[in-house]
């Protein structure tokens, strides 16, 4: 493999909509899924990533390159992650969390999950439903019963009559 020639190895990743991306191996192996393929010697040609579309993969690769350029400094890495995710809408975050899960990238998975959780924090049920477009399929009786059972969780939350 190219490692023998001393030049940095580049991998080619293929999204499920047949887009091709080149990425440095050193950045790509942030994904345990990809790292395993490399270690098993399956990374010679094109690596097909069947569960990730081109748009998301481009974004993930931007992240891979960005984060791997930062030396071991957790503070700086964290602020890079915050900045990277700051302008992403929920649709993109959902795609990213699925991709991070599939690619087995725990740092991205945690960052995106924390970001989504942060949106829900301290918000009323009604607000969260509206924000994420969650359809309430409880009957009023069911909802009252679930609420009663989880009464202990409602302390300190703003009441919302639209829930």
């Amino acid at each position: 493999m190219a490692a023998e020639t001393g030049t940095p190895t580049t991998l080619t990743l293929k999204s499920n909509d047949d887009e091709l991306f080149s990425v440095a191996e050193s950045a790509a192996i942030l994904s345990v899924t990809i790292r395993n393929m490399v270690e098993d010697g399956c990374a010679g040609g094109v690596i097909p990533l069947d569960n990730v579309d081109g748009k998301t993969l481009a974004s993930v690769i931007t992240y891979m390159n960005g984060i791997s350029a930062i030396p071991a400094d957790e503070e700086k890495k964290k602020s890079y992650r915050d900045k990277f995710l700051s302008d992403k809408d929920f649709e993109t975050l959902a795609d990213m969390v699925l991709a991070a899960n599939y690619l087995n990238m725990s740092c991205l998975m945690d960052a995106v999950s924390a970001k989504i959780a942060q949106v829900m924090e301290k918000k009323s049920v009604g607000w969260v439903r509206r924000k994420f477009g969650i359809e309430n399929d409880y009957t009023p009786e069911e909802e009252a019963a679930v609420k009663e059972e989880h009464k202990w969780t409602f302390e300190g939350v703003e009441t919302d009559d639209d829930n």
Binding site: A117, M120, G133, E135, D137, A145, K147, V157
Partner: protein, 457 residues
Amino acid sequence: MSRKRVRTDSNLQAKEFDKKRYTGYYKDDDRISRLPDDILVHILSFLSVEEGARTSVLSSRWINLWKYSTCLNLDRYTDFKKIRRKHPTTGDMLVDNERRNYVTWVNRILRSHKAPTLKQFRISFGLNRKHRKSITRWLEFALSRQVQRLELDLIYYNEPLMYYRFPDELLSHTFIINFKSLRELIFSHVDVSDGAIEFFLRNCPLLEKLIVCHSTELSNPRVCGGGGSSPLVLKHLEIVFCNGLKSLKVSAPSLTYVKAATYEELFIENMPKLVELHINCIDNDVALRRLFTALSRCPQLETLSLMLLSQEETNEICKLPQLPKLKKLEIQYAARDFETLIRLARLISACPVLEEFVVECGWAYLRKKHTKVDYAAITPHHYLKVVKFCGYYGRPRDLEFVNYIWEKCVVLEKLIIGPTCALEIFKGPRDVEQTAIKKGKRQLEALVPRHIELVYL
């Protein structure tokens, strides 16, 4: 995908929900509900337990997800603190009440919880020995789920000798309870015995972090291992506020961080990877020499925070063994009235590449007149850039020390002066501090050369 895996088991006609909803699909714009279970559970693990559990009201999709979260952070310490603050003397009944509520609350959560394994389990509330049965049950709950990070923080309040004691029974049940998955173990206001510590070190091969604070029972623990059959991977060790601690022996090859406070004997060895150490030392030549000799065998040590414990007698600190890589040295020092701060120069000289020096100096009435010290013979220091001096009261010995600093630290860039010591026990009377602040400021502005940045806190 795996959307249907979480089964509802609440008493809310569970099967109804199963049939009616989980066969259906979620609206296109309800993207979040279409995420697979394990991802949603992962997202919920970033919320508090209450916040997570509240999502069960969103829709039937969410009713059981929170029960599979692998992080249980059962922290209601703020509530406890509020009650205590509101009713400092008459609140006992309220506190008891609050404690009962907490126990009920935890029990209820644990009853509904379904995750087969736990990454984190944390209890944080003011409980004591009276609640030992519940607490022990909680520990069994967490340990039987192969918990990786276990934290028991039972903030003690006003009840001497009432700490919950980590039960020996748990340790003898290794055939039922498996300690092998523990990576982090944190006890605060819990009585942990020497034997228990040694047990954890022997039986938790993955243990990386061990913190014990406020244990009255700890007396002569040994944090040793790493040889032969039991490789110790412990990286982080803290043993603090354990007033009964008589001696501490630490010998663990993977340690990078140690914080320990012992007033008597400390034996440290075999810590080739140690980077940061916070420790006490008796303020005399013999003890300091012993400590520095041990530390000179820690080639990676970069940060040392040292609290000097005054003794009846003082003596000059002699030349100490060198700490070749030390970059930051912090000294907490209750200098007595007859002492000069120039003594500390010996410590600085023992650290050839030191870049930052911090001294927290305590208040003392100076009965004796200050005798000037001749520090001309001390060799200049060539790396020290930043010095922080807290507890600068503007008295001759304080001034003398600052003089020494800027004369002998030839590359000094920044001098930070704090007029009062951050440590509560070292603080001086308020009025004394006020005049000291004004006086000190005048003195230093006239004295310290322009090229050194002078910062007043």
